[in-house]
């Protein structure tokens, strides 16, 4: 369970990115974080594992405080939090296997990681994860030899190699085509339910967010302006998050979805 309390972040430039943000995410819950560019979505998930240092407020993972940890303990905390990135953020010149194994860096000594002598069970788990995401035959390829969708699946395997207790996902589909985006979102959601993992997914695409998440938090200028179920996300809420616009396309997608649901239920 993740608990965020009164989190605020003001950058050195004076920009207030987050303003008194509070919420909790239960185990197994997948939360979509939506909002316009610059609303603080990236800052928020980076404040959770303190890649960005919050100005005030607190973050707890399973009742252990993340905020206030010393540098050394922060490293031990970060290895419990898997992160998946926009543009994949794989180390391009390392192999797929090295990228996945880098999920164990927090657990092995520098010398072992330098010599690439990981414990056998770590390697076994990496193979199992690559098999799970369908890339086991590419283990020895360099990361930059893969396509976008394949790279993102390596990114997912790297995060899972940590055996995380929480997933932070930053715009996982921003550089992928619509079909691959859906495959990646489905994979992330399936994995979260398999492992009962809580996850926060930053996402630009409202239709995708509604299709794949169980709960949506809307950020606007660093404040939470919506927190509820995907089907509560109507015209007025979208206007509250993004500003005035004709939302009929997204509304149309919503009614089609519910129609499909009706059919499947019937």
């Amino acid at each position: 369970m993740l608990r965020v309390d009164a989190l605020s972040k003001t950058y050195a430039t004076g920009d207030k990115a987050l303003d008194d943000v509070s919420f909790t995410v239960e185990a197994g819950q997948v939360v979509g974080l939506i909002g316009p560019s610059g609303a603080g979505k990236s800052t928020l998930i980076r404040c959770v594992n303190r890649l960005v240092e919050p100005t005030s407020g607190s973050v707890h993972l399973n009742d252990e405080a993340i905020t206030g940890l010393s540098r050394k303990h922060l490293g031990q905390m970060r290895r419990r939090i898997g992160m998946i990135f926009q543009e994949y953020a794989l180390v391009e010149r390392l192999t797929v296997m090295e990228n996945v194994l880098s999920g164990r860096l927090g657990y092995v000594s520098f010398w072992r990681s330098f010599m690439r002598r990981y414990p056998a069970e770590d390697v076994q788990q990496a193979f199992a994860l690559l098999d799970r995401v369908g890339l086991v035959q590419h283990a020895n390829k360099r990361a930059d030899a893969l396509s976008g969708g394949q790279r993102q699946r390596v990114g997912i395997a790297r995060a899972l190699e940590q055996n995380p207790e929480l997933l932070l996902v930053d715009e996982p589909t921003a550089s992928l085509d619509p079909k691959t985006s859906r495959l990646i979102m489905r994979l992330i959601v399936e994995i979260c339910s398999e492992r009962n993992l809580p996850a926060i997914i930053n996402i630009h695409d409202v239709v995708l967010a509604r299709q794949f998440t169980q709960r949506i938090i809307g950020l606007q200028e660093g404040r939470v302006v919506f927190d509820g179920a995907p089907n509560e996300l109507d015209d007025s809420v979208l206007t509250r998050i993004y500003g005035e616009e004709d939302w009929t396309d997204i509304e149309g997608a919503r009614s089609e979805e519910s129609a499909e649901d009706d059919v499947s239920e019937a």
Partner: protein, 273 residues
């Protein structure tokens, strides 16, 4: 809608440069021309025109004494040439080995302290670069005596600054997303360097090293002039006794070596990129 008539911005004029910028540009060109004229004047004042007039005849005279090259002298040159290659190669290795840590201390994103360690690292880089390897060799010959070792150390010291400067710029240009991703796994600082930064700068390390090795081959050919071993000693000896056909052969050998080293350097860099 007719844009030019109906919009309210027709009074606006766009200019590439403001008036002040144009004036500054004009003054800049004026100063450059004035400076050129002045330098030309200084140069012609200290020239003895009788010598210049004589130049074609002198050149022809020297040229006639330099050909043909004394090909048999090549047997004396093999060992010094081998020394020259060793000076360049060992010197480059020493230089790179020291330059890598210096570069990490100098790069803004990896230095342990911007206000204390980074200035020291930058000073090492500047000090190494500001003194020519011939001068380093001169100093080292008087410190550790004449011979190949002085040449190796001179080339090594001179290489540190060059390699470290290019390398720290490469470190500063690394992709932060990859570094962030490695940090997010809970990796230690040294692991972040090993996994996040090093793979990104490996092509630079190879490329810069080979480039510097290629430069060092050229520099090490003249170190012998001050007693630091290699083919330069033969060059100096031949010059001292006015053995021009030998000098010609040494020039040819140096040229051939440099061409080969440039070719190797180009091939290696091409293979990396």
């Amino acid at each position: 809608m007719n844009i030019t008539e109906n919009s309210g911005v027709s009074h606006l004029r766009w200019q590439h440069r403001t008036g002040v910028q144009r004036l500054a540009l004009w003054v800049g060109w004026l100063l450059l021309v004035a400076f050129t004229v002045y330098c030309w004047q200084v140069m012609t004042e200290s020239t003895i025109w009788a010598f210049v007039a004589d130049a074609p005849r002198q050149a022809a005279d020297l040229g006639s004494r330099m050909v043909p090259p004394k090909w048999s002298y090549i047997n004396v040159l093999w060992v010094p040439l081998w020394h020259t290659l060793n000076i360049a190669t060992l010197g480059t290795m020493i230089g790179v080995a020291i330059a890598i840590p210096v570069a990490f201390l100098a790069a803004r994103n990896t230095t342990p302290s911007r206000f204390f360690v980074r200035p020291i690292a930058l000073f090492i880089i500047v000090a190494s670069r500001s003194i020519n390897s011939l001068i380093w060799a001169l100093l080292l010959v008087s410190i550790i005596g004449p011979g190949v070792l002085a040449g190796v150390v001179a080339i090594g010291i001179r290489s540190i600054g060059f390699v470290a400067k290019l390398l720290y710029e490469a470190i500063e240009e690394t992709d932060t997303a990859q570094i962030e991703a490695v940090t997010a796994t809970g990796a230690s600082r040294s692991q972040v360097v090993n996994y996040g930064i090093l793979p990104q700068i490996m092509p630079s390390i190879y490329g810069i090293s080979v480039f510097r090795w290629d430069i060092n081959i050229r520099e090490s050919t003249i170190l012998g002039l001050v007693g630091a071993g290699g083919i330069g000693r033969q060059l100096q000896a031949s010059l001292n006794v006015l053995a021009w056909p030998q000098v010609t052969l040494i020039f040819i050998v140096i040229l051939a070596t440099v061409v080969v080293s440039e070719w190797i350097s180009a091939k290696v860099r091409h293979a990396i990129i």
